[in-house]
Symmetry: C4
Subunit: 211 residues, 4 copies
């Protein structure tokens, strides 16, 4: 994956568009969710949403630029408390954009199994994930336990990403979904693919009656 | 919580926006729901929606100002029959805004248990509630029986609010959700948080099949 | 109930608005559904949607005026095949507007019982129905068998409406919902109330798991 | 059925409209789905969506014209990998337009039975399908196994279409729905009818509790 060549201002505008889109889909209600894109790779700089903003009304002015330690270097506001997760993913996965949603189905399914992850297998829609060329694919979405200290948890996330090099995202228990892409368009596509498949997995678990 | 410093006209316009937004989400169909904001604290004055209006078409002209006894002091129209509930909440909780929705899930879940309330626990989304800083939180939403005489029921509601000082809202059985905030933005955020969590709680109860 | 005093042109424009609104709600997909309003009472004249039009794109030009025998007296196009149902309801119930939707939940619930109707009881939302002043109300929605000859079935419908003078609507099995009102605003409100309650009744039937 | 007389440019604009509409309905998330319309019958030429585009942002410039062998003859971009399916349907069914959606319910229901198809019977909504004049109709939607080589599978699809001359569409297992029509308006109507009925069939399978 290659980082995008867009400027901070361009990325901030695109992040605001994607944030309002995800809100309209019902995936980031009530100030939940956070989104980032890589402004530069060396040194690492991210454009990232600030904390506590209504994604239905998200503007480019609510995006800040942070460095690799999470310090704000442009814009004003407090970056998301999960900024260290975004930085870790951007580094380990060489991602150009990281999106995090709090949908109904990711919340429920992250909690529906005692296993360390959720398998999604043999759906045509899986072909929308980067590098997947056939429906004969088994996607394993790891599930992490939730925490309020993602800075301390960064090594755990880094290990997980290294142990599961084929994972296109992960779930946090009773919390939501993280996915990423080489740029914002790919990350947006992967959010839609995974949210669709989580809805399929959730709704089929509700079918108990045979006609 | 501090009341807002906005004028009646400003609050009426904001209430109309929020009403149309809640309608678009499917939470106040068929003239259901009512919304208020504090115009002044001493004496207590509320801007509140009038009775029987279509929230999908809500305008500022359909908002009236009432005093602490529920009498209209500005605007025309009959205030909501539940105005006394809004007044009680504004006083006891020092709320700047009170929102009441009639969603599918609040209607169902208010009726799904014989208990006096519904527990929602350990979800990240709970952090969107005022003063909650971790997902390790147990929100207890009390459930009140429904009535058509909220003026007579005001002492019962006042007792409940005093007995449950940590509750961020309550349900009325087969009726809907009440929540509030220091201002309209916070109240809107809490409606979204609670409606989201009620949908999660409702949908997970529909999952009976294990793959 | 009193018929409205609006002209055919005004009613046609309002019917088009309501049709597009119901389409956006998912209640009249694929050219399904039909809507009417009384232009004059004596002689009886209805403005009614024509057959086979896409309600998402409904225009006033796709509404015709018919007389009490179902003959077109203004506008061009073939009136809905269910025009005789609209005429019967307008006469027997003295309705000013009649709305018919084909929603998911009305389709399923009309078929979920062998009984001659569906009871909906003790919900606050019932107060949105004409003349209902308390949630302590039991609405009985009769269910009719479907047919392709509504002209022949008109006496059956007339009997049903006379036998059930308190019903605010009825279901047709595997087909949908009919409701009405003294004018289009009331009929629209009642569609929303009944569709909401049908969704509540349908979704609660899916809750099998107790936490 | 007769092919439409519209030009490639007109059809490309109409396909873009329909693509964005289907995206808004949630039927073609994450670049899934593909749509075509017949530009000429002899020789056969199709306007068809290109591969990997976001249907929420679909423009006429993302539509190409292909010949009967699937070669691009106008516009730029790679035609959908399922172009051979569109060509086969256009030929065998004399269809003027072919639409393919990846909805939640078509994905689930295509996988909910071991049978070679899904029966949908006795719903009024079936009358929206071409040539169906009564609800007393049994639609049999064949289910094909999925593949990544639709060119090789074309004879299998052609046989199926010939063996099931009354089918208005078919499902591909864990993949989605294909339907068609004499023109785009009819094909759009049939997508809505079939998606509605699939949602009804899926949701009724979730109703396990009797009040």
């Amino acid at each position: 994956m290659q980082p995008t060549a867009a400027s901070f201002a361009e990325l901030a505008a695109q992040l605001a568009d994607i944030g309002r889109h995800c809100y309209a889909q019902g995936w980031v209600l009530g100030t939940s969710g956070n989104f980032s894109a890589v402004v530069s790779r060396d040194p690492l700089r991210l454009a990232i949403t600030t904390s506590g903003v209504d994604k239905g009304l998200l503007t480019a002015g609510q995006i800040v630029e942070i460095d690799g330690d999470g310090n704000v270097v442009a814009g004003s506001g407090r970056p998301s408390a999960e900024a260290s997760l975004h930085l870790t993913i951007a580094e380990v996965r060489h991602a150009g954009a990281v999106l995090h949603t709090h949908s109904i189905w990711s919340t429920i399914l992250s909690d529906a199994t005692a296993a360390a992850g959720l398998a999604i297998e043999a759906y045509e829609m899986l072909k929308g994930l980067d590098g997947v060329g056939t429906h004969e694919h088994r996607e394993w979405l790891p599930i992490l336990d939730n925490t309020q200290d993602w800075r301390a948890a960064a090594p755990r996330v880094e290990s997980l990403l290294n142990e599961q090099p084929n994972a296109h995202g992960f779930l946090i228990r009773r919390h939501g979904l993280y996915t990423w892409g080489k740029d914002l368009a790919e990350a947006k596509r992967q959010v839609e693919i995974l949210e669709f498949l989580l809805e399929v997995m959730g709704r089929k678990r509700g079918m108990t009656w045979q006609p």
